[in-house]
C-alpha cells in the first residue's frame, strides 16, 4: 500500500460559513475525529454534493501511483490502477504556505493548499505540519463514509 501524508475522517460542520458566493462551489468547514484537525475546503459541489453532517474520508498524498513512485506531473490516460480508484473526488494542487496560529500550549500549524484556485486550510498539531514542505504537489482524495 502506498504511503500517504495524511489520512483522517472528517465530519462536515458547516457549509459556506461566510455565505454562499459561487454557483458551483461551496466552502465546507469540517473537523476530524482522529487528530482533531480543523479544515476549510472549497469543493465543487456541482459534481460532488456535500451536506452538513456528512462524514467523509480525506487523504493527502504526493502520488497516485500505487507503488509509490513519484508523480510524473503528466496525465496518462489508460486504465491503470491508481489510488484514485477507491475515492469519489480527487483534486491536484500545490502547497503554498505554512503558518502558525495561536500560542503557548494550544499552538496550531496551518497548511494552505490551492487546488487550481479551490483552497484548503488544514489546521492542527504542529507535528503534522512537519511532514509537509512548501511548493509540494499534493493530491486530495475524498470518499464519503457511511454514518454508521
Amino acid at each position: 500500500m502506498v504511503e500517504t501524508l495524511f489520512e483522517d475522517i472528517f465530519r462536515v460542520d458547516q457549509l459556506d460559513p461566510d455565505g454562499k458566493k459561487f454557483d458551483k462551489v461551496n466552502r465546507i468547514e469540517a473537523r476530524s475525529d482522529q487528530f482533531d484537525m480543523y479544515m476549510q475546503l472549497d469543493v465543487n459541489t456541482d459534481v460532488y454534493p456535500m451536506h452538513v453532517g456528512e462524514k467523509f474520508m480525506m487523504v493527502l498524498a504526493t502520488t497516485l501511483n500505487l507503488d509509490g513512485t513519484p508523480d510524473s506531473g503528466f496525465f496518462s490516460p489508460g486504465g491503470r490502477k491508481s489510488l484514485a480508484d477507491k475515492f469519489d473526488y480527487v483534486m491536484h494542487g500545490k502547497l503554498y504556505r505554512i503558518n502558525e496560529e495561536g500560542s503557548g500550549a494550544n499552538v496550531k500549524a496551518d497548511i494552505y493548499v490551492s487546488f487550481g484556485g479551490l483552497l484548503m486550510l488544514l489546521r492542527g498539531d504542529p507535528s503534522i505540519a512537519a511532514k509537509f514542505e512548501l511548493d509540494q504537489r499534493l493530491f486530495i482524495l475524498m470518499r464519503k463514509v457511511d454514518k454508521a
Binding site: D16, P17, D18, G19, K21, F22, D23, R27, Q40, K94, Y96, R97, I98, N99, E100, E101, S103, G104, V107, A109, Y112, S114, G116, G117, L119, L121, P126, S127, A129, A130, F132, E133, L134, D135
Partner: protein, 1338 residues
C-alpha cells in the same frame, strides 16, 4: 525699441547677397552666445534706414500699382509683391530680406513703452539742473552699492527702486523738494492721466514756500508763478535728459543715455513684415495695420510741420497737433493706450507693435516658442487589438507623404532602388533622392529608372515610411510625458491611425472621433533617443489558464510572485481577528507563486495600471519591459476574443429590481425619512443637541445630510448583495472596469440626494426650494432628495433637483479645464529648466542649485515600487526570493546568524552614504530584516517548547530563511536600489510640473471637506492647489492645528480653547451702562461672573478688562480714565474733552465701541474646535483663522507640534524650511483627499523651487520673475511687452541657456540628452591667425 543683436556676427562681406537663407560666416561654426537688449538713438535709426519715409500714400494711383517714392511702401524697403524688385539690394520678392526706412519727427515725442521709466527718472532728477535729487552723501552711498560687480539684475533693480523711493520720499510731506545743488524748487512728478505725458505739479511750491524762495532764478520777476504749465513736454524732458551726468544714469540703472527714451526718429520696418495684400483682382489692397499706423503718423507729422512753419490750414494750435502726433506714435507702439477723447473709431481695432508680440497669438508664444515642424501627420484614431502595444497602424496615404532619409548601404541598396523605381505615388516608394554632391532630386516625374540604376552607396533616399520605423505618437492635450510616446509604425490600409486599446489610457484617448498627431524622427540619433526614452511599455505601471498566460512554456524563465488585494477582498469583521488573506470568501486575495495563480479573481487592482504592486508593474520591475508587454498582449488578445465569442451587453432587464430588492430599498428609504423627520421634530421643539461649533440649523443640516448620504450607500450595498452574479453592471463594477456601487444603485434602486455647492438644494423661492412644498420645509423631498431610481423614473420635482445638480457638474468641468490648464502652464514655465546634474544636484539653467540631491535620495520616482514613494517593497521581494530559490536541503539560519550577516553586508561601501545610499533606505532595510529575525525567534519559541528537530523544521518552513536566500535577497535589494538612481540630465522639473499638473485636471473644482469635525470645512481641490502655488497671502480657510500639552482631558482642552477664542467684552459683561451723576457722567461696566465661569475664563476680572481696553487701538482712553471699582465692576470716564456739548456723544460712542473690545483670546482667530481623533481619544485643537505665533504662545499648547496650513504665516513664524515642509505637506494632503498620490519627490522639488531664494515665491508671474533672469523666458510667459521694454532700458543680456530661450533661438536644449557634448581631440592644433597678431594677450 528692443533690439536683438547677435554679438558674434561677423563683418559682412562685400559680396554678400541678400537672401532669406540665414547668412553663415565661413570662419568655423558660430552660435548665438547671448542676446543683448538695447535702445536705438536717432542716429542709429538713420544709419540703419535706407530711405526717408515722408509720404503717407502707398501706391501711385488706382491704376498704377507702383509704390510711391518716399511713401510707406517705398521700394527701398523691399518689394511689395512678387513682381517688384528691391531698390536697395535688387533682390526679388524671395531673396530680399527687407530694409528699414526712417521717419524723422518734427518734434520729439514720448515712447509709451518707456513711459514708466521716463516718469521714474523725472521723479529722481532736478527739473532744472538735471542732477539727481539725492543729497551728496546718499548719492555716493547708493552709487557705491549699485557699482558692486557681483550684483545680478534683481538686486540692481532693487537698489534702483530704493533710489526712486528715496527721491519721492524727500518730497513726501511738503510735496516739494529743493535741489541741493541749484536750489531749484521741485514739485512732485506724476504720469498724466488721459494722455501720454508727464505732469510736474508745482502748485504746492507757491503755497508754502514762495516767500522764502522768491529770489530763486526761475521765479524771479514773475508775479504769477502759479500759471506755469504743469506738464513736462517731450522736448523739455529731452533737454533735461541730455544734460544728465553719466554717473547719475548709472544710479538710475540705465544702461544707455536717457535721451534714447524719447523718440525723434522712427524706424520704419521692412515691407516683408507688414505685407500689402492685393484684393479684388489687384484693384485694391489691404494694408497691414502697421502700415496704416505709419501713414497716420506721417499725416500728423506733416500737420505739425505746417503749424511750425506758420502755413497751417487748420486753426488748431501747435499743442493740439503735437498731442495728436504723440498719440499716433503711442498707438503705433501700443494700441491699448487709453485715449481721453471719445472720437476714436469703434470699428475694427488696429493693432500696434506691442499687440503683435504679446499674448497666446503673439509672435513670441505663437511663432517663436511654438515652431511648426515637417514630417508630421494627423488623422482620426481607431482601435486594433491585433496590433502590439508598441505598434501604431499608419495608413498608406500617410506613409507615402511622410518619409525617412535612409543612407544607401550594401544592405539596403536593392530595396532602395526598388523604392526609387516606384517613385512618389506607389508604395513602397521614395519621395526624394539626395546625391552625395548635395543635389536633391524629386522622384515625382524624373527618370526614375535611370536614377535607380545610378544609385550609389552613400546617397540618401527619402523613402516612404515602412513597417518598424520609429514614430512619435501624440494626442493633445499633452498633459504629461505619456501623452507623447514612441511606437513602431505598421503600414495599413484605410485612413485612420490605429493602436492597441491598452494604450488608450496614457493618451486619455477614446474612439469617438479623437484625432492624434504623428511625427517621424529624421535621424538615427533621434530614433534611438525616442526608443530609449519614450517607449510606451517603459511607462506602464497593467487560474490554471492564467498561469499559462504568464508563463506559456517551461523554458520561459519568468517567475512571478505577488499578492494583491482586489476590491472584493473582505476584511475580517466581528470576532475574527486575523485577516482572511487567501481564504477570503469572495476570492479577492490574489496570490501568485512562481507564475502560478493560487488564489483570487484578477481584477483592476492586479491588471490595471496605477497599482505599484500590480501584475504588470511587478513583471516590469522583476523582469523586463518586454515581458510585461508580451503578457499584457496575451491577456488583451484572450479577453478580446473571449468577449467577442461570449458577448457582453446591458439591457433593460439588468436594471429591473426584483421584489426583494424593491422591498429592501423601500425599507431603507422609509427608515431614513423617519430619522430625518425625527431630527426635524427635535429641531422644531428646540431639543436638537448641537454639534461642536455649529448652531442648531447647521446641526440639523449636517445630521440630515449624513442620513441621506447613508441611504445612497446602503442601497448601493443592497444592490451589490442582492443582484444576480450574472448581472452585467454588477460584473462591470466588480471587476473594476467601470462604474461603482453608487452608479448601479442609482439605476436600480435610488438616485439619492442632489447637492448644489456641497449643500442640499437651495431655496429658489421664499423660504422654500420649489413652490410645490410648504415654506420652511426641511424634509428630504423638499430639499432635493430623489427617492426614485432612473428605472422607476423621477417625479417632476425630483427631476428639477437633478438638473440643478447636473448643471453644477457641467459648469464645474467647463471651468476646471481652463483653470487647471493655466496652472499646468505656470508650473511648467516655473520648472522647465530644472534638471539633474552629474554631481546629483538639481540646478536651473543658470547652474543655481535648487536641491543638493534630487528628492533627498536621488532615486527616479517612476521606478519606485514601495508604498509612498519608497524604492522597494521588501515584503514582496522576500517572498519572491523565497519562492524562486527554495530552501531545499539547506538549513535555515538562526535569528542571531541573520542579524550578523545583515550587519556585515550593510557595512560595505555601497551601503554607505558615500556609496550613494540614503540613510533612510539603510535603516529601513535593517529594520525589516531585524523584524523578520524577531518573528522567527518568536515562532521558534512558540513551537519549540521541547527542542525537537521536527518542530524546528516546521518553524523554519513557516518563516525561516537560509543563508543563500538571505544573500540573494540582500544583493537583489541593494543592486536594485542602485539601479533606480535618477539619470543625470533628467528634466526633473518638467516631469515634476506635469506630475502635479496632470492630476489637477482630474480634480473636481470646488470641494469642501470635513477636517475631522463637522462644520470645519477646508478648501480643497483646484482652488487649494492654486492657493498654495500662488503663495496667496489671504487664504480662504486658514486652520491651525494645535497639539495640547495635556491631550487626554476635555476640561483642559476647553480651558485652552477658551483662552484662545476671541471673547468680547460684550459677551462677558452683564451690563454697560451710562451713569449720569449731577456733576459727572461715566460708563459703568459690570462683568457677568456666571458667564465667565461657564466659559472657563476665570482669569477675566476687572483688572484684566481694564488692561485690554487700554490696549485696544482707536479707543483713546488713558489709564486715569478707567477706574476699577471692585472685582467685577469698572468705571470709564469721558476721555479728554471738557466740552459739555460733546460729552454725551463721546460717551455714547464709547458705549457702542466697548462691547467689541477683545478681553481674551487672539483677535485673528474666528473660533477653535476641540477635535477628538478616534484612536486612543487624544484631543487637539483646530483653530480657524491666522495667528500661529499667538496660538503657539498660548498656555497649554504644545508649540513644538503646532502647525498651520497657511504657508506664508508658517514662513513668517517658523522660517523658510518650515514653509518648505508645509508646502509639501499641504499639496500632499490636498491630493490625498482626492484619492490621488503623487511621488513626494515632485512636491519636494516644487517646494524647493518656491523657497530657494529665501522667501516663499509663488509660481505665478511675480514669483517667476524673481526666480529667473532670462528676459526671453519671462517674455514668453506673461507681460511680454513690459519685460522687453524694461530689458532694453536696463541693457539686459540674455545668455541663451534655458529651455525657452533655446527653443526661441532654435538651439538644442542644454538639458536631458543635450547636457553632454562630444569633444574630439584634433591631432594638429593650429593657432588661428586672423589679421594682426595680438600684442596683448588676455
Amino acid at each position: 525699441m528692443a533690439n536683438a543683436m547677435n554679438e558674434n556676427r561677423g563683418e559682412p562681406d562685400k559680396t554678400l547677397t541678400f537672401t532669406k537663407q540665414p547668412y553663415i560666416v565661413d570662419v568655423g561654426p558660430r552660435k548665438i552666445k547671448d542676446v543683448k537688449f538695447s535702445m536705438f538713438s536717432g542716429e542709429d535709426v538713420l544709419k540703419l534706414g535706407e530711405v526717408q519715409v515722408s509720404r503717407s500714400q502707398s501706391y501711385v494711383s488706382q491704376e498704377d500699382k507702383r509704390p510711391v517714392d518716399n511713401g510707406v511702401l517705398d521700394a527701398h524697403m523691399g518689394p511689395t509683391n512678387k513682381l517688384g524688385t528691391c531698390e536697395t539690394c535688387h533682390g526679388d520678392f524671395h531673396s530680399c530680406p527687407g530694409h528699414f526706412g526712417y521717419l524723422p519727427l518734427v518734434l520729439p515725442v514720448y515712447n509709451v513703452g518707456y513711459m514708466s521709466h521716463v516718469v521714474d527718472i523725472l521723479k529722481c532728477i532736478c527739473k532744472f539742473c538735471s542732477r539727481i535729487l539725492l543729497v551728496e552723501t546718499e548719492r555716493v552711498n547708493f552709487l557705491k552699492r549699485i557699482r558692486n560687480p557681483n550684483l545680478d539684475h534683481l538686486r540692481k533693480t532693487g537698489i534702483y527702486k530704493q533710489v526712486v523711493k528715496r527721491c519721492t520720499a524727500m518730497a513726501s510731506s511738503k510735496k516739494v523738494v529743493i535741489c541741493s545743488r541749484c536750489h531749484y524748487v521741485n514739485g512732485t512728478v506724476k504720469k498724466a492721466v488721459g494722455t501720454v505725458g508727464v505732469i510736474h505739479d508745482r502748485s504746492k511750491v507757491q503755497n508754502t514756500t514762495s516767500n522764502e524762495f522768491n529770489d530763486t532764478i526761475y521765479l524771479k520777476g514773475s508775479n504769477t508763478p502759479a500759471k506755469l504749465s504743469p506738464s513736462v513736454g517731450p522736448d523739455k524732458a529731452l533737454k533735461l535728459f541730455k544734460k544728465m551726468l553719466d554717473e547719475d544714469c548709472e544710479l538710475l540703472y540705465l544702461a544707455d543715455r536717457p535721451e534714447k527714451l524719447i523718440i525723434s526718429i522712427i524706424p520704419v520696418p521692412p515691407i516683408c513684415i507688414r505685407p500689402s495684400v492685393p484684393v479684388a483682382g489687384g484693384a485694391m489692397s489691404n494694408e497691414n495695420d502697421i502700415t496704416l499706423r505709419l501713414a497716420e503718423i506721417i499725416r500728423a507729422n506733416a500737420s505739425v510741420r505746417e503749424a511750425l512753419s506758420g502755413a497751417s490750414v487748420h486753426n488748431k494750435s501747435l499743442g493740439v497737433l503735437w498731442d495728436n502726433l504723440q498719440l499716433s506714435v503711442a498707438q503705433y507702439v501700443n494700441s491699448d493706450v487709453r485715449v481721453a477723447d471719445s472720437s476714436q473709431q469703434n470699428g475694427k481695432r488696429i493693432t500696434g507693435l506691442v499687440q503683435r508680440q504679446k499674448g497666446k497669438q503673439g509672435r513670441i508664444r505663437k511663432n517663436l516658442s511654438g515652431k511648426r515642424v515637417e514630417y508630421t501627420g494627423r488623422t482620426v484614431i481607431s482601435p486594433d487589438p491585433n496590433l502590439k502595444i508598441t505598434e501604431v497602424g499608419v495608413p498608406i496615404k500617410v506613409a507615402m507623404t511622410l518619409s525617412y532619409p535612409e543612407r544607401v548601404s550594401d544592405h539596403n541598396i536593392e530595396r532602395l532602388k526598388r523604392a526609387i523605381r516606384n517613385g512618389t505615388y506607389v508604395y513602397p516608394g521614395a519621395t526624394h533622392l539626395r546625391k552625395k554632391d548635395g543635389s536633391i532630386m524629386s522622384l515625382r516625374f524624373n527618370a526614375r529608372k535611370r536614377l535607380a540604376e545610378e544609385l550609389k552607396l552613400g546617397d540618401i533616399v527619402n523613402r516612404h515610411l515602412k513597417d518598424g520605423d520609429v514614430v512619435l505618437f501624440n494626442r493633445q492635450p499633452s498633459l504629461h510625458r505619456m501623452s507623447m510616446m514612441s511606437h513602431r509604425a505598421k503600414i495599413k490600409h484605410w485612413n485612420t491611425f490605429s493602436f492597441n486599446e491598452s494604450v488608450c489610457n496614457p493618451y486619455n484617448a477614446d474612439f469617438d472621433g479623437d484625432e492624434t498627431n504623428i511625427h517621424v524622427p529624421q535621424t538615427e540619433e533621434a530614433r534611438t533617443e525616442a526608443l530609449m526614452l519614450m517607449g510606451p511599455i517603459e511607462l506602464w505601471t497593467g487560474k490554471q489558464l492564467f498561469s499559462v498566460l504568464l508563463r506559456p512554456y517551461a523554458d520561459m524563465r519568468v517567475y512571478l510572485n505577488l499578492s494583491v488585494t482586489e476590491k472584493s477582498y473582505t476584511k475580517p469583521s466581528g470576532e475574527r481577528v486575523k485577516p482572511y488573506e487567501t481564504m477570503c470568501p469572495n476570492d479577492g486575495y490574489i496570490y501568485i507563486r512562481n507564475s502560478e495563480l493560487l488564489s483570487g479573481q484578477l481584477g483592476k487592482a492586479t491588471l490595471g495600471n496605477g497599482n505599484k504592486d500590480g501584475l504588470y508593474s511587478v513583471l516590469l520591475r522583476d523582469y523586463h519591459s518586454l515581458a510585461a508587454a508580451v503578457c499584457m498582449n496575451r491577456l488583451a488578445k484572450l479577453s478580446a476574443r473571449w468577449i467577442g465569442d461570449h458577448g457582453f451587453s446591458i439591457g433593460i432587464d439588468d436594471v429591473q429590481p426584483g421584489d426583494n430588492l424593491n422591498h429592501n430599498t423601500n425599507r431603507i428609504i422609509s427608515q431614513g425619512n423617519k430619522k430625518c423627520d425625527n431630527f426635524i421634530l427635535d429641531f422644531n421643539k428646540g431639543n436638537l443637541k448641537c454639534q461642536p461649533g455649529c448652531n442648531a440649523a447647521q446641526t440639523l443640516e449636517a445630521q440630515i445630510t449624513g442620513v441621506l448620504n447613508k441611504i445612497r450607500d446602503e442601497t448601493g450595498k443592497v444592490c451589490m448583495e442582492k443582484l444576480h452574479w450574472r448581472n452585467s453592471p454588477l460584473i462591470m463594477s466588480q471587476c473594476g472596469s467601470k462604474g461603482s456601487p453608487i452608479n448601479i444603485s442609482q439605476m436600480i434602486a435610488c438616485v439619492g440626494q442632489q447637492s448644489v455647492g456641497g449643500q442640499r438644494a437651495p431655496n429658489g423661492f421664499i423660504d422654500r426650494s420649489l413652490p410645490h412644498f410648504p415654506t420652511n420645509s426641511k424634509t428630504p423631498a423638499a430639499k432635493g432628495f430623489v427617492a426614485n431610481s432612473f428605472y422607476s423614473g423621477l417625479t417632476a420635482t425630483e427631476f428639477f433637483f437633478h438638473t440643478m445638480g447636473g448643471r453644477e457638474g457641467l459648469v464645474d468641468t467647463a471651468v476646471k479645464t481652463a483653470e487647471t490648464g493655466y496652472m499646468s502652464r505656470r508650473l511648467v514655465k516655473g520648472m522647465e529648466d530644472l534638471f539633474v546634474c552629474y554631481d546629483d544636484t538639481v540646478r536651473d539653467s543658470n547652474a543655481i542649485i535648487i536641491q543638493f540631491t534630487y528628492g533627498s535620495d536621488g532615486r527616479d520616482p517612476s521606478q519606485m515600487e514601495g508604498k509612498s514613494g519608497f524604492p522597494l517593497n521588501f515584503d514582496r521581494l522576500l517572498n519572491k526570493v523565497k519562492a524562486t530559490c527554495p530552501a531545499g536541503q539547506h538549513r535555515g539560519m538562526s535569528p542571531t546568524e541573520i542579524c550578523e550577516m545583515v550587519d556585515e553586508r550593510l557595512s560595505m561601501h555601497d551601503m554607505s552614504t558615500e556609496g550613494g545610499c540614503s540613510e533612510d533606505f539603510r535603516r529601513k532595510l535593517k529594520e525589516f530584516l531585524e523584524k523578520k529575525a524577531a518573528t522567527l525567534e518568536f515562532t521558534r519559541r512558540v513551537l519549540n517548547g521541547e527542542e525537537s528537530l521536527t518542530l524546528e523544521n516546521v518553524a523554519q518552513s513557516i518563516c525561516g530563511i537560509t543563508s543563500q536566500q538571505l544573500k540573494v535577497f540582500l544583493e537583489v535589494c541593494i543592486s536594485r536600489y542602485h539601479n533606480k538612481k535618477i539619470d543625470p540630465g533628467t528634466n526633473v522639473g518638467a516631469i515634476g510640473a506635469q506630475s502635479i499638473g496632470e492630476p489637477g485636471t482630474q480634480m473636481t473644482l470646488k470641494t469642501f471637506h470635513f477636517a475631522g469635525v463637522a462644520s470645519m470645512n477646508v478648501t480643497l481641490g483646484v482652488p487649494r492647489i492654486n492657493e498654495i502655488l500662488n503663495a496667496t497671502k489671504k487664504i480662504r480657510t486658514p486652520v491651525i492645528t494645535a497639539k495640547l500639552t495635556c491631550n487626554d482631558s476635555i476640561p483642559f482642552a476647553r480651558l485652552v480653547k477658551g483662552k484662545m477664542e476671541r471673547t468680547l467684552l460684550g459677551q462677558v459683561a452683564k451690563s454697560i451702562k451710562l451713569v449720569m451723576g449731577l456733576r459727572s457722567a461715566s460708563i459703568i461696566i459690570s462683568l457677568d461672573t456666571e458667564t465667565i465661569g461657564a466659559l472657563h475664563l476665570s482669569c477675566i476680572n476687572a483688572k484684566t478688562v481694564k488692561e485690554s481696553i487700554l490696549k485696544t487701538p482707536r479707543i483713546k482712553l488713558k489709564d486715569k480714565h478707567i477706574r476699577v471699582l471692585d472685582d467685577r465692576r469698572l468705571e470709564v470716564n469721558n476721555p479728554s474733552t471738557y466740552d459739555r456739548n460733546k460729552l454725551l456723544f463721546d460717551l455714547q460712542m464709547l458705549i457702542n465701541k466697548l462691547p467689541s473690545v477683545i478681553v481674551m483670546g487672539v483677535g485673528t482667530i474666528e473660533r477653535a474646535v476641540i477635535n477628538k481623533k478616534k484612536e486612543r481619544d487624544k484631543f487637539n485643537l483646530l483653530v480657524e483663522g491666522t495667528g500661529l505665533q499667538a496660538v503657539m504662545g498660548t498656555e497649554g499648547v504644545n508649540g513644538l507640534e503646532t502647525t498651520s496650513n497657511h504657508i506664508l504665516e508658517v514662513e513668517e513664524t517658523l522660517g523658510i524650511e518650515a514653509a518648505r515642509r508645509s508646502i509639501i505637506k499641504e499639496i500632499q494632503y490636498t491630493m490625498e483627499s482626492h484619492g490621488m498620490s503623487i511621488d513626494i519627490r515632485h512636491m519636494m522639488l516644487l517646494a524647493d523651487l518656491m523657497t530657494y531664494k529665501g522667501e516663499v515665491l509663488g509660481v505665478n508671474r511675480f514669483g517667476i520673475q524673481k526666480m529667473k533672469e532670462s528676459v526671453l523666458m519671462l517674455a514668453s510667459f506673461e507681460t511680454t511687452a513690459d519685460l522687453l521694454f524694461n530689458a532694453a532700458v536696463k541693457g539686459q543680456v540674455d545668455k541663451i541657456e534655458g529651455v525657452s530661450e533655446c527653443i526661441i533661438m532654435g538651439i538644442p536644449i542644454q538639458t536631458g540628452t543635450g547636457t553632454i557634448k562630444l569633444k574630439q581631440r584634433d591631432a594638429q592644433i593650429e593657432k588661428m591667425c586672423k589679421g594682426l597678431e595680438l600684442i596683448l594677450s588676455e
